[in-house]
Subunit: 195 residues, 2 copies
């Protein structure tokens, strides 16, 4: 299974989300593109992928194996995230609340997402990491990315503790959704090898 974890820094769990202004809603546009880049192929869903959006003390999870419907446009994906945040009141303790098939929300932070390291390779994407081509494609990678902001000091500390690898995808700084696309391509091709 491939996993992506995206750290949202400007979106509040109780934000009034206006679908006509996604950038104004804590850069929800970017989070939507991360979700669709992680989960969609041309006319297909990647069922072996899960993406967690870390939003203000909550984990909004999209699970490709359970998703029924995900369209590629930002607005419809934003509505799914809005509905998940709207169900945050039902996420009590460690219990997740399901907002729609394959979309859930639970309380959690980066540590709680990363601390179960069984059979996973946690990969931090970083401009100064080693070239991704030097890494043997992991079986069960967890890629950790930030939104348009840098990682906070606390997130950096967690990553120092938990990340198995720190890799660079190239010399130009990509948007988070572009980085997800490139990471998938690297894995799809077995390290830019099998086409």
């Amino acid at each position: 299974m491939r996993r992506f974890v995206v750290l949202a820094h400007e979106l509040s769990a109780d934000a009034e989300i206006n679908l006509d202004d996604l950038p104004g809603a804590g850069r929800l546009d970017l989070l939507c593109r991360c979700v669709t880049s992680a989960l969609l192929l041309s006319h297909d869903i990647r069922t072996d992928v899960r993406i967690d959006l870390l939003v203000d003390g909550y984990v909004v999870r999209f699970d490709g194996s359970e998703l029924r419907r995900l369209n590629p446009d930002e607005r419809s994906t934003a509505a799914l995230i809005r509905d998940a945040l709207g169900a945050s009141g039902e996420a009590i303790g460690a219990m997740a609340a399901t907002a729609s098939p394959g979309v859930s929300i639970r309380k959690g932070d980066l540590e709680s997402v990363l601390e179960d390291r069984s059979d996973r390779t946690i990969v931090q994407l970083h401009a100064e990491g080693r070239p991704v081509v030097e890494l043997t494609p992991p079986e069960n990678p967890v890629f950790v990315l930030s939104d348009h902001r840098e990682f906070t000091d606390r997130e950096r500390e967690s990553l120092v503790e938990f990340a198995d690898e720190r890799v660079s995808l190239g010399p130009r700084a990509l948007h988070a959704d572009g980085a997800i696309t490139v990471a998938h391509n690297y894995l799809d091709t077995g390290g830019f090898d099998a086409y």
Copy 2:
């Protein structure tokens, strides 16, 4: 210079574009993501990139060297495309009309875009093309992509005539915007070599 050409098959030049329903406007959402994937880096514009959207007998061009403002979200990019299509009446003969800085429209089709082959390598992205890693990164590539539909027979004929290369970016069928992201990464890294 890097160029991208995206063939739109469902958008009419005189469509009534509703910014609240971009998928319903000839999959304008997809075209917007192609534009931003081609032109944006994290907090930067790729000034050495041009993207042509071929829409219903017109060429809507975004030129990175002249763009003043381009936001990453679909809706604001859709407004730029809508405004360009709105200026189509001013595109007379071979003359382009400028709709906003760096965004223009002129009459044209795939042949007219491809026939000036001076110092360019025209690359058709195709599932059965040779692996992109076998290609030496061209200096001035022109990548030709289709939207969510297949190339038409006529487009295919033009590509047989004009394309210098037919390459595959991997074993999974990507969305056009994802293909643009991967193509950029391939070029940025000099063929997945320089990180």
